[in-house]
């Protein structure tokens, strides 16, 4: 994966990088800016295409597939809460659309009133009181509320992989805590395979059953749950700093 190929600014983010996630794993990935975390997510989701190499999802090669085709099996929550919802549509309309993912977007009624109770029960999970506000536009919600909603939306239909792209980074500490707890609950409830990128080392240590630290397109730490218990924020930070010193930062 090269940025600015053929120029003096050419940067090879990944070179001979191999990474795989087993079904049911919840991977939390940390690393400094420019270490290739977000690039990796973009290559998986298809927002960027790799120069070489192959990507497989559930045994199927998806390398050449356009982003929207891959999205059929991938749920994604973005750093920007605005990216995962439609601000001018109501909560009900947003959920109705998400509920229909994978179905035909034909000329049947867009909002199915029969599903209202189901949507309410899902929204109750958030404990944000949104279940009584189905008809307000999502744009009037706070960032934390929108991100919680985006998480529900991304996991509404069955998916093979959930991508969490620094999804708590734009939220205040309390909201990010809430969203993170909700994330865990949804992942456990639906037994999802998840790949989470975060700058919050505590989240990285506390959540997930595998921890990966990226640096210059390589993974410098990759521990499963058993080893992760011994992995503390301090030790993580130490490795983080050592790498930075190596690079002369």
């Amino acid at each position: 994966m090269n940025f600015n190929p053929g120029t003096v600014n050419e940067i090879a983010v990944f070179n001979g990088f191999d990474f795989s996630v087993d079904p049911g794993e919840f991977v939390s990935m940390v690393g400094s800016n420019g270490s290739g975390k977000t690039t990796l997510l973009n290559v998986i989701c298809g927002s960027l295409s790799a120069d070489r190499g192959k990507i497989f999802l559930n045994g199927t090669e998806i390398t050449g597939m356009p982003e929207h085709r891959r999205a059929a099996n991938i749920g994604r929550v973005f750093q920007n809460p605005a990216a995962g919802t439609c601000p001018n549509l109501t909560i009900m309309e947003n959920l109705s659309l998400a509920d229909n993912k994978g179905g035909a977007f034909g000329l049947r009624k867009g909002v199915n009133k029969k599903r209202t109770d189901y949507y309410r029960s899902r929204l109750q999970l958030l404990q944000l009181g949104l279940e009584d506000k189905l008809d307000i536009s999502v744009g009037s919600l706070s960032g934390g509320q929108r991100q919680a909603l985006a998480l529900l939306i991304a996991t509404m239909t069955p998916i093979d992989l959930l991508i969490l792209d620094e999804h708590t980074a734009a939220l205040d500490p309390r909201s990010s805590e809430t969203v993170m707890e909700l994330t865990l609950r949804v992942i456990e409830e639906k037994q999802l395979t998840a790949l989470m990128v975060t700058h919050n080392l505590r989240f990285a240590v506390e959540y997930g059953n595998r921890l990966v630290m990226m640096h210059e397109g390589r993974s410098v730490i990759d521990t499963r749950r058993t080893g992760k218990d011994s992995c503390t924020i301090e030790s993580l930070l130490k490795t983080f700093n050592e790498i930075s010193i190596e690079c002369g930062n």
């Binding site: 982003e67 919802t85 439609c86 309309e93 867009g110």
Partner: protein, 303 residues
């Protein structure tokens, strides 16, 4: 001003307002829902007129002409969409390209003449259902017909926008990444929206041509400006009432806009100043919209 003259003027305003309102509803879809400033409208409006002239002169059913006009406009809209979505040409330029191309298409349809007349032929205003009107209403048949057609288009669009597909169209204008996340191609939705918008525009052109019993290939000049002004005026004036849907506001805006033009003409504005006034009105509408939006809180965008 005598009462008969005044009521006559009102009828003209309403008649024209409804006809151009059909176009305004289409432009609402491209401009407001998809956020696409679609200039191809200047070419697809006369396209509908030329198709009316061609088919009606050939003896075709005038209602069939309306359907064909809508379909042809939709095709032209698809071209705009494909130029933009598939070939990566900017939205404005895609519209200009189609608008320019339409000039030739329209000339080919009329056989090379700028105005093609079709007097004494069957149109929707002198044949078919309109003959069922009671005698007393017959003098107002033009207004009645355009009102019914505009309402039919309005309800059709209202219904479409409430379907799953319509919801997806609204989502693609709102947040195209959301549509990608739903495993759908937002580009295709954009093309579809442009098709519907230009279909409505060509339908409006077709109806105006049947009313005038001639097709004027120059009739498209200023349509973008007129339609945008109608949509923006309609929404800024009637949104407060919180009663109408946006599609309805587009029609009402069109009527209001026509009333403004008519008032200016009645007050003695020379005809040559008309396009200047249209530009000024649109500028004023956009500026007032911006002022309104400042400080205003987020209002739910219904449809």
């Amino acid at each position: 001003m005598s009462l008969t003259l005044f009521s006559g003027l009102v009828e003209v305003v309403l008649r024209e307002g409804f006809i151009y309102g059909i176009m305004a509803m289409g432009v609402y879809i491209t401009y407001k829902i998809l956020d696409f400033p679609d200039l191809s409208v200047d070419g697809t409006f006369p396209l509908g007129a030329c198709i009316a002239a061609l088919l009606i002169t050939a003896g075709a059913d005038p209602w069939l002409a309306c359907l064909v006009a809508f379909a042809a406009g939709a095709c032209a809209g698809c071209v705009t969409g494909v130029l933009h979505v598939k070939l990566g040409i900017t939205d404005l330029l895609s519209g200009i390209l189609v608008m320019t191309a339409m000039w030739s298409v329209n000339l080919i349809l009329t056989g090379g003449s700028a105005i093609k007349q079709f007097f004494n032929r069957d149109t929707i205003f002198n044949s078919g259902p309109v003959l069922l009107l009671p005698e007393g209403l017959y003098p107002h048949r033009q207004l009645i017909m355009v009102t019914l057609i505009a309402l039919a288009v309005k309800y059709a669009l209202d219904w479409y926008l409430s379907t799953k597909n319509g919801l997806l169209l609204r989502a693609s204008g709102d947040n195209s990444q959301y549509v990608v996340n739903l495993a759908r191609d937002p580009g295709s939705m954009k093309i579809l929206g442009l098709a519907v918008g230009n279909g409505c525009t060509a339908l409006a052109g077709c109806i105006l041509a049947q009313l005038n019993q001639n097709a004027d290939i120059n009739s498209g000049k200023g349509m973008v400006v007129m339609a945008l002004a109608s949509v923006i005026i309609g929404i800024s004036v009637f949104r407060r009432l919180n009663f109408f849907r946006f599609v309805t506001m587009a029609i009402l805006g069109s009527i209001l806009y026509k009333a403004c033009l008519m008032a200016a003409l009645q007050l003695g504005l020379p005809n040559s100043y008309l396009k200047l006034l249209m530009a000024v009105l649109l500028t004023a509408a956009i500026v007032s919209e911006k002022v309104n939006r400042k400080g205003g809180k987020h209002v739910a965008k219904q449809w």
